[in-house]
């Protein structure tokens, strides 16, 4: 699921710090804005926009962090609105709903752990590519 590969060049200390921060940003936002899934996406997006003119290594990791947030947004938003409809409309709690919430928690947790791990590794200048998101980032993010 997580693949450590060699980046096209050796990133410098400053680059590694910035790249690592993109993951930390999404983690902090995730904790702060837990009930509203859009918040961590916005935080990561702001960080991405701020660094889109950065070096390739920084841009690459900002993109991977952003993309991973984007897919969690779909899962979390659906769960969020489903919960609201149970609380405020005639919708009732079903096994299907509880199963969805558990699945969402499992995926969020996996993403959370992967983000922490990647933040630590990138801080050391190690290039970490995630399953699917790594490839997607390679397609989107190009070295100039």
């Amino acid at each position: 699921m997580i693949n450590i590969t060699k980046f096209s060049y050796e990133p410098g200390e400053h680059e590694a710090e910035k790249a690592s921060n993109s993951y930390l940003m999404s983690l902090i936002a995730l904790i702060a804005g837990l009930p509203l899934p859009i918040i961590n996406l916005i935080a990561t997006l702001i960080f991405y926009l701020g660094n889109r003119k950065g070096t390739y290594f920084v841009r690459w990791h900002c993109t991977q962090a952003l993309l991973s947030q984007l897919s969690m947004l779909f899962i979390n938003s659906f769960g969020f609105w489903w919960t609201l409809s149970i609380l405020f409309t005639e919708e009732i709690t079903t096994s299907k709903y509880i199963a969805y919430i558990i699945a969402a928690i499992v995926f969020n947790l996996a993403e959370f752990i992967a983000t922490i791990y990647t933040a630590i590794q990138t801080r050391k200048g190690i290039h970490v590519e995630w399953w699917f998101y790594g490839n997607l980032t390679n397609l989107i993010c190009k070295s100039k």
Partner: protein
């Protein structure tokens, strides 16, 4: 040479795109598979959601009933209670409804009204009995309210109108008494939405037919009151809160058309007259 190099790069790009799409699809499938696998477990039982819901409903039912008990006068006459009970028991037995769950309360009030509260509390105003021409008409309204209880319309309406979070807070000591009073008023004086009302009407006809009670008087009751030729028009809470009485009467007649069965009297004319006298 340059052209070849570019096409190689293009092929690589296509290959990578294909790989990414497959990985993306696998990720999505993995999520749905996890969800599907988890739905195989009956979480409602595991987390005792049902039990918690029942407890909330029980508490709410008692809270609301206490409000009516405090503000209105309950008719506890042995004859009145047992007469109404006999009708409810007959309907419940014929339809496999847990009789103990339905708690009938008769209040001395001129309004033509009957309504259901959470946890099977069924409140009947004496005005309804007085303005019913025969026990079949009255049974129709009772069946309609029992249908609301059995189809869980009461809790659905409460959750829709005031929200689950407020309902749960009501059952704790912090629940505001004003909110409880407002909710109780809403339950007694406003109808359910159109679809739920129709569902309850149709279910009521089924209950009546199974209990061998003619559903026609129930439709007549609606016709009569919608026409406004009854002396109780000014107290028509049940009708004014249940819109389109004429339309309801029509579809009740339409639905009961093919349900020809041998009907029996709910109670003797003497008992019915005596019941009205006692009120």
């Amino acid at each position: 040479m340059v052209v070849l190099w570019q096409s190689d790069k293009f092929n690589l790009q296509i290959k990578m795109m294909g790989k990414t799409i497959i990985q993306g699809l696998i990720t999505i499938a993995l999520f749905f598979l996890t969800w599907f696998a988890l739905t195989q477990i009956d979480w409602i039982t595991v987390f005792r959601v049902q039990k918690a819901t029942e407890k909330t409903e029980e508490k709410l039912g008692n809270l609301f009933w206490n409000i009516f008990q405090k503000t209105e006068k309950e008719n506890k006459s042995q004859f009145v209670v047992s007469s109404v009970d006999s009708i409810v028991t007959k309907i419940c037995n014929a339809n496999n409804i847990d009789r103990k769950f339905i708690k009938v309360h008769i209040l001395d009030k001129e309004e033509v009204n009957a309504f259901a509260l959470p946890n099977g509390h069924l409140v009947v105003y004496s005005g309804l009995i007085k303005n019913s021409d025969n026990p079949e008409e009255f049974s129709g309204v009772i069946c309609h309210e029992i249908a609301h209880i059995q189809l869980n319309h009461v809790m659905k309406k409460l959750v829709k109108e005031i929200g689950l979070s407020v309902l749960i807070s009501m059952t704790t000591s912090k629940g505001g008494s004003e909110t409880i009073r407002e909710a109780a008023k809403m339950l007694s004086s406003s109808a359910f939405d159109r679809n739920l009302e129709k569902e309850a009407d149709i279910k009521a006809v089924d209950y009546l037919v199974k209990a061998k009670i003619n559903p026609e008087p129930f439709a007549n009751f609606l016709f009569k009151l919608s026409a406004g030729d009854n002396e109780a028009t000014k107290y028509l809470t049940w009708i004014s809160t249940h819109p389109d009485s004429r339309e309801r009467a029509e579809y009740i007649i339409e639905y009961s058309k093919d349900k020809k069965t041998k009907f029996e009297a709910v109670m003797t004319i003497d008992t019915w007259d005596k019941l009205k006298e006692k009120l």
